[in-house]
């Protein structure tokens, strides 16, 4: 599709994902969508709405209620020529599939020296901010990012949701595709067709800024942008980097950004200990050491189970917490 033929539509993240699935299924008959309630219901978030009607029960279908089953079944489908896109209904309900994901999906290409590749996309509605009860709000990206062999993506805009999912489905490698639940209804222009946005492995600078760099992904990107907006009103210029792709990690973009400002705050919803945010802080510390005017700060979820709905606002990185972290970046030294 040439750039001139690109359709632009105003879509929510959920609709963008739905479009990506539809377009991928239209272009490639080996793409299958399966999971719990993804068929006639169209998924509990309506992300797979209409796919069964359009492509038939053979292409988009409900499975028995068993996540290890879904993941393991997808391994077999992928071994035998299919490109399964599986949905884990919520973050914490992907845990029963952990062994299949870690011991098989992530490792199959490696153990067979590339002979068996598994083009599987694991879609996971993830993270909090929607007032969900326990087990419905986990930020589980660190478990996957720590597991070699998986790509881990977390879009923050409808356009990235569309584009990165198309890339994920086209990838010969397994991809964990994390869909920030609280952004499902966020609408924006989406350029349809492949390759309209940077591909897997590429971070983007969402906002230019000169005083400090906020590094975020998925649900935390809009919060970081809001914080940057608020800081600007106070006369501080914050740059915002959206990772988009956690694995592979875009060291070049992140380091260039941090080196340009000399200060960094990592923002992520997941509990902080041994997390992706820890990785980012460690990498930036290792690679940008001599550019840093202050230690890299992390604004993350606390190291507690995700709180009940009435208390979740304490856990989510807020504009205030981000600004306070920025304030703490030893400006007196500057």
């Amino acid at each position: 599709m040439t750039a001139s033929a690109v359709e632009h539509e105003k879509l929510s993240v959920a609709q963008a994902i739905n479009c990506a699935l539809r377009d991928a299924m239209s272009e490639d008959a080996s793409v299958l969508v399966l999971g719990e309630d993804v068929g006639p219901l169209g998924g509990v978030f309506r992300v797979t709405d209409g796919l069964t009607a359009e492509f038939g029960e053979d292409r988009c279908f409900d499975t028995p209620l068993a996540e290890s089953g879904i993941a393991g079944f997808a391994v077999g489908l992928a071994m035998n020529g299919m490109r399964p896109v599986i949905e884990m209904q919520f973050d914490a309900f992907a845990y029963p599939a952990f062994e299949q994901v870690v011991s098989h999906i992530a490792k199959m290409r490696n153990r067979t020296r590339g002979r068996v590749q598994l083009p599987i996309v694991i879609r996971i509605p993830y993270a909090g901010g929607i007032g969900g009860v326990e087990h419905h709000c986990d930020s589980s990206e660190s478990y996957y990012a720590h597991t070699p062999g998986l790509h881990v993506l977390a879009p923050s805009t409808p356009s990235d949701a569309y584009s990165l999912l198309r890339d994920a489905i086209a990838s010969p490698d397994p991809v964990v595709f994390l869909e920030p639940k609280k952004l499902y209804w966020a609408k924006d222009e989406v350029a349809l067709g492949r390759g309209q946005e940077p591909g897997i492995g590429t971070a983007v600078v969402r906002r230019q800024g000169t005083d400090a760099t906020l590094i975020a992904y998925g649900p935390s990107v809009p919060v970081a942008l809001e914080a940057a907006e608020a800081a600007a009103r106070d006369g501080r210029s914050l740059q915002v980097v959206d990772l988009r792709s956690i694995v592979p990690f875009d060291d070049a973009t992140v380091c260039a950004a941090v080196e340009s400002t000399g200060r960094a705050v990592v923002v992520a919803e997941a509990t902080g200990f041994a997390s992706v945010a820890a990785e980012i802080a460690a990498r930036v510390g290792e690679r940008c050491f001599h550019s840093l005017h202050a230690p890299v700060r992390r604004v993350t979820g606390f190291d507690i189970p995700f709180p009940p709905p009435k208390l979740e606002h304490f856990q989510l990185p807020s504009v205030d917490r981000i600004l306070d972290a920025v304030d703490d970046l030893q400006w007196e030294d500057a």
Partner: protein, 348 residues
């Protein structure tokens, strides 16, 4: 089935019919359960509950599960089993804390021997087996009622729980409420076995199927199952065939995956109507009693309403208090960040 949909004894096994007294207790439970389901649904509409998975239509299962237990027994419920927990004696205000969102669980599991409601499907069945095994290890006379839905039977943990129970001879009654759906997915997508009760065979566990809208039949089957488990005959599996009359939760749209006609057909099998007809026909229940039960249910509904209408001021300290028996240094630091944040906010 001991009572047909119109509440007439089927005559299948007249001796099996529970005594009127037992059925009357059950009837009171059904009235309460139905009223509670309605109340909770209303509270969702009013924004006092985040979500509610109703057991409307399944009340006979709910009541029977609790009614057959002795004090020393345990109940392991799911998110859908609010009414069963209340039938066991827990204050509905405490049960609904989970769905109100003040905390993950609101009652003391040891007080009435009711485990916290499980959301990750089938996981609680294994806990039930462990509780039963520990009791037997100490020579205690405890039976555990472990509840799950039809969809949950597809999970690996269902399999492992039944097998552990069988191998260790644990006194557990696995009670599957087959309400024909797992959210939108019909039973035919979960299993092509002749019945879910057949799932006992592969573990050496006796399985029985019962009409889940017939309280009399449920009581008979569950009383027997509990008795067998208590007598050392090992785990038991009971499938109650019932129907989820409402959507999965208020957030669900059931019209996307089932016909109104299907739902309508189940209205005629209502567990409450059926039992009331029978008890009235037997002369065991009159208008005054019906009114009295309704009144008691109304008072509980009012209590529930009042409780849930009370706002609890969320205390961030709670978030750090129970993660470990003593907060780690890291948690102490993190709590300090929250306090600092709050005081910065106040200062503004």
């Amino acid at each position: 089935m001991l009572l047909d949909p119109d509440g007439r004894p089927t005559g299948a096994d007249p001796a099996a019919l529970p005594a009127a007294e037992e059925l009357l207790t059950g009837y009171a439970g059904l009235v309460t359960a139905r009223r509670l389901n309605e109340q909770a649904y209303a509270l969702v509409r009013q924004g006092r509950l985040a979500v509610y998975p109703s057991s409307h239509g399944q009340e006979a299962c709910q009541v029977a599960a609790a009614q057959v237990l002795a004090e020393q027994d345990w109940l392991f419920p799911t998110y859908r089993d609010t009414a069963a927990i209340v039938a066991r004696g827990v204050d509905p205000v405490d049960v609904l804390v989970l769905l109100k969102g003040d905390w993950h669980s609101g009652y003391d599991p040891y007080e009435h021997r009711v485990a916290p409601q499980a959301t990750p499907l089938a996981t609680q069945l294994l806990h039930a087996v462990g509780v039963a095994h520990a009791a037997r290890h100490r020579g205690e006379d405890t039976v555990v009622m472990a509840m799950c839905g039809d969809g949950a039977t597809s999970e690996g943990d269902f399999h492992e729980a039944l097998n552990f129970a069988a191998v260790f001879g644990a006194p557990v009654v696995f009670f599957v409420q087959n309400n024909e759906y797992a959210i939108s997915v019909p039973l035919a997508r979960q299993s092509v076995a002749p019945s879910l009760a057949h799932k006992g065979v592969g573990y050496g566990i006796p399985g029985e199927r019962v009409d889940g809208n017939d309280l009399a039949a449920l009581l008979r089957v569950l009383v027997d199952a509990v008795a067998r488990a208590r007598a050392g005959e090992g785990p038991q599996l009971v499938e109650a065939h019932t129907y989820r009359m409402q959507a999965h939760t208020n957030a669900d749209d059931a019209t996307r995956y089932r016909e109104d006609a299907e739902v309508a057909a189940w209205v005629a099998k209502d567990p409450l109507v059926r039992l009331e007809a029978y008890l009235r026909a037997q002369g065991a229940l009159d208008d005054a009693q019906v009114a009295a039960f309704a009144d008691a249910a109304e008072r509980l509904a009012e209590h529930t309403r009042d409780g849930l209408n009370r706002d609890v001021v969320p205390d961030p300290d709670d978030l750090f208090r129970h993660v470990y028996s003593r907060p780690t240094p890291q948690l102490a630091e993190q709590l300090a960040i929250v306090h600092d944040e709050l005081s910065r906010e106040e200062a503004q």
